[in-house]
């Protein structure tokens, strides 16, 4: 099992947080501490294309993050990659509710 790691960087007018590893219950504290400071950014991009596994806890954290960024009048974009993140988003028809893109290059400013 590979623990979740987060890396934050500022680039082209967006705050990009890249997540890698397994995004599940065990990752909740790491995720919170890494994302908390970015919730009031105008454009927060969560790049999950290197997440090897996500379960319903990960999905709940995504929904919460999205809701909180919106409360602050920001945008939250999720780069879903094509693994289990993509599958969960597809199963829950969340592409219509969240701003989801397939690749980082597809994020529009």
């Amino acid at each position: 099992m590979q623990a979740l790691s987060l890396e934050r960087r500022e680039r082209d007018g967006m705050t990009l947080i890249e997540l890698a590893g397994e995004f599940d219950l065990a990752a909740e504290p790491v995720f919170h501490s890494g994302v908390e400071a970015a919730l009031s950014e105008p454009l927060l991009v969560l790049d999950l294309s290197h997440v090897s596994f996500m379960d319903s806890t990960g999905l709940r954290l995504l929904l919460e993050t999205d809701a909180r960024v919106r409360e602050n009048d920001g945008r939250c974009v999720i780069v879903q990659g094509n693994g289990s993140v993509h599958r969960l988003i597809e199963q829950g028809l969340l592409a219509a509710r969240l701003e989801v893109v397939s690749r980082l290059d597809d994020v529009t400013l």
């Binding site: 919460e64 289990s84 028809l93 219509a96």
Partner: protein
Amino acid sequence: MAAARKSAELEPVTGGMDDAPFCFGVVDAEMRLRSANRALRQLLGAGPEGIALELFPQLSPELVSAVGRAVQGESVCGLEIEQAGGQHLVDCYPVWDAPSSPSGAAFAFRDITSWIDVRRRGERLQRVSAELSGAARIDEIADLVLRGGREVLDASAGAVALLTEDGAQLQVMAMVGLDDRTRQEWRSFPLELHTPMGDAVRGRAPVFVDAGEGRDERYADLPIPADVASASVPLMVADRVLGGLSFRFDAGRTIDSGVRGFVIALGNQCAQAIDRALLYQADAAARLRAERLADIAVRLAAATEPGEVAELTAEAGLQVLGASASAVVRVTGERLEIMSSRGYPEPALAAWRSFDRDDDAPLAECIREGRPIFLDSPAEAARYPALAAAAERHVAWAAVPLIAHGQVLGALALSFDSATALAGRERVAINTLAAECAHALDRAVLSRHISQVNQRLEAALEAGNMGWWEWDSTSGRVVWSQNLERIYGLEPGTFGGTYDDFLALVHPDDRETVSTRARAGLDGEGHEAEHRIVTPDGRTRWIDGRSRVDRDAEGRSTGLGGIAIDITKRKLVELALRESDARFRGLFESGVLGVSGGCGLLIDEANDALLELIGYSRDDLGERAISLDRLIVGEGGGLLTEVEWNHLLEPGWLAPHERQYRRKDGSSLAVLFAAAMIDAPSRRWIGYALDLTERKRDEAALRFLADASDLLSESLDYQRTLQRLAELVVPRLADWCIVAVLGDDGVIRNLAVAHTDPQKVALVRQLEQDYPSDPDAPTGAPAVIRTGHTEYLATIPDELLVEVSPDERLLGILRDLGLRSVITAPLTARGRTFGALSMVIAESGRSYTESDVQLVEDLAHRAALAIDNARLFRERSAIADTLQASLLPPILPKVPGFDVAAEYVPGGDGVDVGGDFYDLFSTGDGRWAVVIGDVCGKGAVAATLTGVTRHTARASAIEDDDPLHVLGSVNTALLRTDTDGQIRFCTAVVGRLETGSPSRLQLARAGHPPPLVRRRNGTVEELGAGGTLLGVYSDPELRSTTTQIESGDVVVLYTDGVTDSWRDAGGDARLVELLVALPGESSAVEVAQRIRADAIRARGSVGDDMAVLVLRAM
């Protein structure tokens, strides 16, 4: 002709229409009435034919105009008009004799006033039932029913009442339209009283009372006016009567069949909703208590002081179990001591303080017999005279022993105001609390003990420890560490264990001083004393004893605990330095100490012991090559500090302190160094050094044990912990470390294997497979497990390898491993040896000594306790499983034509309740609802949401089993559930199965992984289409699909806990593979178990919950 026709009677209508239950007539092109059926003739009165339709006052202008349009060639159907004081439904259509224009028109109408009433009631009933499905509280339901019913029926008043638990009273839940006085008087009334509602409930049938003359005389005594009519129905679900529903009507109303039907239907709706609410309340109460118990268990587990455990437990007795008084007592010797109590008056507590184990009281008895005592009534309590006084205050009692590790530590006493408090599941809850309390108490006592011991060990370390002891002044018992016996020159285990035994060992001249100081220390904070002892072989040794006082919870001193240091060597040196040169010389050459003499920084003489320590020869000394600054490595790497030199010059001596010696070959050595100035002006001094290598190793071992203890207490997953422990041992203390455990099946397995080289670990794992351990083997782990005794081989002889190897291959491997020295210690807890810890030295080439045996035994002992604790923890987690099971259907129903099975595995550490659930139930007419779902999260909130989801799914499916309707209802219910502002969602699949040949399965998914169907021909298909998960958005997008299920098809519904188990082994694809590979005739149970087993194998002991529901068409 025309005149004759005018005077002719109106013609009857032919073709069966004449007797029709509605009015029917025909007009000619000029709108003159030409024929009429009997109903129309009766309405209009017998009259001549040919009268213009508009001349009949009974017919409304709207009707005439509609007929007029029909004469023009237009059909008018389904027109509703007001006419003759009622609502009428009208149909008109043209009559064609020739294709050009109509020759007239036919018309029909009927009074539908009563239909509209019925329709209005039906609509209202539907609305009420929709509202009821959203109501969870009984008063809310009653209110909805009364408001809805009153509006439709135009009733003056209404009431809903429920039977009390004993069935003797009707208790009113809601009333409308009654004045305050009546409301007060009729809040509840005996069922026996003759009332319409009471009779309906008793007779299990509706009671309708008409107003006025025909009124039933039975109710003449009731304060109800004579012109009041009433309708009362029992509230029944299946054959259970819950209560009754009544409406009252004013001013001479009679109760027609429409009203009757409506009240009965409304009663059914109301009964079902109340039943659901009652079930939900009961469930919610049980769940709440289970949650609180789980919460208490967590807080108990965290409590570190016995007093805190007792406080928590006593408080939980009131808050969680609903007792009105509670107490926790502990056994001290033959007496009982109250640790904490709530709600008992002081006289009762005072009586308990003087309790005796042999008393004839429930508390004493439960402790004596080790089993709980429940007394449901004062009558039962009568056999205990001790309870006579208490019977005035309470009606039920529980006394439950606190048992941990088979030992009765004390008891929990609870007293209740209500006898129902001791029903079956309450008893389970009480026992659970007592068990949690006992284990927590045990742990707290143990942890206090361990922390005391650790404190002392640390104190000993700081002081340059040699041994520790404890003296319990009340019992006179003295406990010694093993090395203290060594110091006193006793064989291990031969110390007598009392204070007098200790005093007998003290030098006769010092006994009085020691005794006086120890007694004084007991009254103060502890003691310090230097004294002599005489060993059994007659030698005198010097001991430095120091102690701290031990206190109980009230701060009373209970004894002393401290350390004893062997200071004989120091004393000898002091003596030697003080006494004659001859004795000094004797000591100089004795070899106990390294002794040196010198001038300034130079060493000019040294004894053999010192030379050996520092690795120099006497010749080196002759060249005056050794100076202190070369030998002694100070803190900064320098020589003696100026301060130390001054110290040596002025008082003439330097107290012993730890130093590093640098040996000739450059290696360093820990020593205790002291020096004394013989002649200050010539700067001549003498120094001595004591080798600390041995002691340093002891210190390292103690530190290691402390590390190991931390590790063992970290986690309850003992398999993982043991592996980490083994890895901690290697390479510090061993080249190999193996922990073997005896399974329930009698097979010995290696739970942990560690070596620095993973390939060697793999080799041992392979050997374990190829050469299974023989439980009767004469040596090694099996022998240690059998006998419970440690096995220690300083060197492993080759003959032993030959003896244990059944073939040349194994012998070759064992020889190649180069095993040299081994210690195998038993894992023993609660008197049972269930495993062995082995440490082996191979390539590193050392050998174990006797002193290592103690360390390995100590480590094995701690590991055994950790394993035992983990096992106890597993037992506790069974409680959580039970709780989860209460959220699942206990037994799946029999579905005709189908073979069904389900599997559920709780996740995580097994203590939290997870969110997976499934359900299968009939919705009538060969239709079945299939539900599986997963509520995000764990613990209390998840359990609540799981409950909401399951109950809503059931209720809404019975109302309408369309999966889209069910999912929509669940979504709404979840959105309304309070989740503390957190996002909590649920994914689910709901299906409607219509059995037949073939059967049809209509499915809708909400964010849930797709169910699979394995067709008879072996192909596997996914079912359903993606849908929005539930509980987050108010407008979920959901679609349903329908598939045919034929004989031999297997439908599998599952939660993501199953596929996530295979996250590293194919995930979803793995499930498909598994279904493809199924043997053709597998039963549903076999399929479900196969999936469960495969998933558990992949995920190990830790994972999410998982649920599988399998339906196979036969």
